[in-house]
């Protein structure tokens, strides 16, 4: 399996562990990830400001992938949501497609819609399959309770992202349980992490994050598990601020799914960048049961 991998802008600087762990897991699963040097921001951050610029940004990434004849892989929900949305618009809205393609043409690019943007989770669940992953697991977690957080743009709007049932999704839960961990049911599982308002309305953003941490804790979770750059920034870096300024009692570390899966595939914690997390997740290795060599 070969994909063009769109790395999310914040990962090289403030979320290195996502790059480290996704690289390691992709390699372990035999997925070839091609880096296209010209890739740009997915456009998500300026959707509020200038819709066409948002469309252009994602369309350019799609066009670059299409030029290489590769499906576009992302590990971030915001990138995924934007790419799926723009892919949909470029197919459905003729005049918009013409306008955007005429801008892209200045660089010799255009998007015809012949490739598919894919979230990493989709590749795991739909292309590789739970059973194959199950077979590859070497270490299982014992007694680990995880609160899964899907993130908005993996689920909604359903007719565009088409990943899972937006009201009762199970794919991430199944993928978490492959590792031996137990996925707990919790109240605000499908709500937003609060990240889009961080830096804009910090109090509201913290309210939403705090509420989620509280609910997950009440459901007995030991960790949150996340599949998106911005969600993880919120649940890790912003939680770190939240704990020091507001409510230390709601501490609930958040682990990236790539880190969780990586551990059970036998990848060591250093390669997965466990130490990079600000709200420490180092104790998670204590839940690991190493399979007897048979």
């Amino acid at each position: 399996m070969k994909f063009a991998l769109l790395r999310c802008c914040p990962t090289p600087t403030v979320l290195k562990q996502y790059e480290l762990s996704s690289n390691a897991v992709l390699q372990k699963l035999g997925i070839e990830a091609v880096d296209i040097k010209e890739f740009n921001c997915c456009g998500y951050p300026i959707k509020n400001f200038n819709f066409k610029a948002y469309v252009l940004a994602s369309a350019r990434n799609l066009a670059l992938s299409e030029r290489e004849n590769l499906n576009l892989l992302t590990v971030c929900n915001c990138c995924y949501g934007s790419l799926k949305h723009v892919d949909h618009l470029m197919k459905d809205e003729t005049s918009l497609r013409k306008e955007i393609n005429s801008t892209l043409e200045k660089e010799g690019l255009q998007y015809e819609g012949d490739i598919e943007p894919k979230h990493f989770l989709q590749v795991l669940y739909d292309d590789i399959g739970i059973e194959t992953i199950q077979d590859m697991v070497v270490n299982t977690f014992d007694g680990l309770k995880i609160a899964t957080h899907y993130g908005c743009h993996l689920l909604r709007p359903r007719e565009i992202v088409q990943f899972d049932n937006p009201f009762s999704p199970t794919k991430l839960d199944q993928l978490v349980e492959v590792t031996g961990a137990k996925s707990v049911d919790w109240l605000t599982k499908l709500e937003c992490c609060g990240s889009p308002l961080w830096g804009v309305n910090d109090e509201l953003s913290l309210d939403l994050t705090e509420n989620k941490l509280k609910n997950a804790k009440q459901a007995g979770a030991d960790y949150l598990c996340v599949v998106c750059t911005y969600c993880q920034l919120q649940f890790d870096r912003v939680q770190h601020i939240l704990l020091s300024q507001r409510s230390p009692e709601y501490q609930l570390p958040s682990i990236l799914y790539t880190q969780l899966l990586g551990l059970s595939l036998g990848i060591d914690g250093e390669t997965l960048g466990l130490a990079e997390n600000q709200v420490s997740i180092s104790e998670i290795e204590g839940f690991l049961l190493h399979k007897e060599a048979s």
């Binding site: 908005c152 909604r156 609060g194 961080w198 830096g199 509420n211």
Partner: protein, 584 residues
């Protein structure tokens, strides 16, 4: 005499320019942190820092960076071979010509005892080095004007640099070319160096020079018989020590061949001397202009590379960071690598604000640092460009001069906010990074620009506080509806029958016990007000800016209203309106 006057004047201008430029590194400030540090404190901190670094083990780092990044330009080589080749050609050719040709009365004779400019290998090498520069300039022109890399902007400064280099090179070759063909020069040499010669001897010598050395004589024309040439060669014995065959200076010889039909006329007007004047005056002009031109990077880029290699943002003296940031502005040679690598560079094609591109931010920051008067519109553009950045660090990683561009943007952004101009991009996830850096910022100043922007776009909420307000019978501007970007999604608001499902599903609404007081209008009310074109109500709702874009509203709507998409489009319109209002 004139030569020396010109040289000394240009050297003096160069010296004054250099002192002036270096002084700005300590006088100018970028960002708010540097404002309180005095110039003298910065000079002392720099001296102390330099001495301590040179005495520590960091000197090894400096040596490594000097060899790999400054001399060999490994970083550029990894990015783009053509660019590396361009730079190496100009830089190597330039240095070699400067040392062995321009300074050939100082350096060359000291190294080579038998140095004589018209003898090989010196004759050949001078032309070779010149050709190397020409090749570099040709690649530069090809990259800038023919290859047309997207978002690679060419500024006046780049063109001046190319023009000055081109004049120096072309006048040099033509000067040598016309000197080869010049009969007057030939006669001068004969007068000066042949002591005993009869007319026959002189005629054979002249024939020999016409045939073999490219001289164009008004009296003699080839072909010559073998005997004449043989005798000529004998007479030439006196010259052979000082003159290799001009063919070795292959470009000058080519210039001589090209100008040959006009050679006698050119000799009459003494073109060779005129070209020599043009050649050295262009060199001197380049020298005088150097501290103000992009050539200045030959000093500043290495300094920036070295400084950044040993400085640590956490531990270094803030005074030195302040100085380094101003130095970095001069270290930028406008190569455009950052703009090509910029992850939001593509947005420039939709929002034509040059300040979005990192390479174009630098000249704007220079203007700000100089304290020049800048129009409000220009400040708005700079601020927007500075904020339209995902802080991915691509520019900083790519910069061949090692400039910490990301830190520059961050500092400039924060100091621009003090000018009191709203920044609408703040109301987007681009602010996540600023939020993450919150603890490094002044806590009292942190929320001011956000609140100012909110108020500018949504007003102070007075309108929504008026409970007994009478609705106007005439609805608002109809054209606003059609200015929404995507007809299909944005028209769905008309399907809303105010069942309140969207507002019930909204996590922001449910966060408050008194949501209306906080957010103004709830999502379903916004849909309804949009249908009624009550624009002043819609755009004064803080809900628009507290919307997460989480799509819960849209997912739950039983009527298929694309609530979140409509909100996104309303936000776009609100910002456009606010920008228009500010511009008038």
């Amino acid at each position: 005499m004139f030569y020396y006057y010109a040289l000394y004047i240009s050297l003096a201008i160069f010296g004054i320019g250099l002192i002036y430029k270096v002084s700005t590194w300590f006088r100018y400030t970028i960002g708010t942190d540097a404002e309180d540090i005095s110039t003298s404190a910065r000079v002392l901190a720099a001296l102390k820092g330099i001495i301590l670094t040179l005495l520590s083990s960091k000197i090894l780092t400096l040596l490594k960076v000097f060899v790999l990044d400054v001399l060999l330009q490994i970083k550029v080589l990894r990015q783009d071979f053509l660019k590396w080749a361009m730079h190496m050609c100009i830089y190597l050719g330039f240095m070699l010509l400067l040392l062995f040709h321009a300074l050939d009365n100082i350096i060359t004779p000291a190294l080579f005892e038998d140095y004589y400019s018209s003898v090989n290998p010196f004759l050949f090498l001078r032309d070779l080095f010149g050709v190397v520069i020409v090749l570099g300039v040709a690649i530069a022109v090809y990259r800038r004007f023919i290859l047309k890399v997207p978002r690679h902007i060419t500024s006046a400064m780049d063109i001046y640099a190319i023009i000055i280099l081109a004049i120096i090179m072309i006048s040099g070759f033509l000067h040598k070319g016309t000197k080869i063909t010049s009969y007057t020069r030939y006669q001068d040499m004969v007068e000066e160096y042949t002591i005993e010669a009869d007319e026959d001897e002189l005629r054979t010598l002249e024939s020999y020079w016409v045939a073999k050395f490219g001289v164009v004589s008004p009296n003699l024309k080839g072909p010559f018989d073998a005997e004449t040439l043989e005798l000529g060669e004998e007479a030439h014995d006196a010259c052979v020590d000082c003159h290799s065959r001009p063919q070795w200076g292959f470009t000058s010889y080519a210039a001589a061949k090209i100008t040959k039909p006009m050679a006698l006329g050119l000799d009459k007007v003494d073109a060779s001397t005129i070209l020599w004047y043009i050649h050295f005056l262009a060199c001197f002009l380049g020298l005088a202009y150097l501290p103000f031109s992009k050539f200045f990077h030959m000093f500043t880029s290495p300094l920036s590379l070295l400084a950044n290699a040993v400085m640590d943002p956490e531990k270094s003296d803030p005074a030195n960071i302040a100085t380094r940031q101003v130095l970095e502005l001069d270290a930028c040679m406008h190569c455009g690598t950052c703009s090509v690598q910029c992850r939001v560079g593509v947005i420039f094609q939709q929002i034509p604000n040059f300040n979005i591109l990192p390479s174009e931010k630098i000249p704007s920051i220079k203007k700000l640092a100089r304290g020049k008067k800048i129009s409000a519109q220009e400040i708005r553009d700079i601020q927007e460009g500075m904020y339209l950045c995902t802080n991915c660090y691509n520019c900083t990683v790519a910069c061949p001069a090692g400039i910490n561009l990301q830190d520059l943007w961050f500092n400039v952004r924060e100091s621009l906010f003090q000018k009191g101009i709203p920044e609408f991009l703040m109301l987007s996830p681009l602010s996540v990074y600023r939020g993450l850096m919150k603890e490094t910022l002044d806590q009292a100043n942190y929320p001011i620009p956000i609140n100012r922007t909110l108020e500018s776009v949504a007003g102070n909420g007075d309108l929504l506080a008026l409970q007994d307000r009478t609705l106007p019978l005439e609805p608002g501007d109809y054209s606003l509806l059609s200015s929404l970007n995507l007809a299909v999604q944005s028209s769905t608001f008309s399907h809303c029958f105010s069942c309140v499902t969207c507002s019930n599903a909204c996590p922001v609404v449910s966060n408050y016990s008194n949501p209306q007081e906080v957010v103004g209008l709830l999502p379903h009310q916004i849909m309804h007000a949009t249908g009624m074109r009550l624009w002043d109500l819609v755009f004064s709702a803080k809900m628009l800016w507290d919307c997460l874009g989480c799509y819960q509203c849209q997912e739950h709507c039983p009527q298929g209203v694309c609530v979140a998409d409509v909100l996104y489009e309303l936000k776009n319109v609100a910002i456009t309106r606010a920008i228009e209002k500010m511009s008038t």
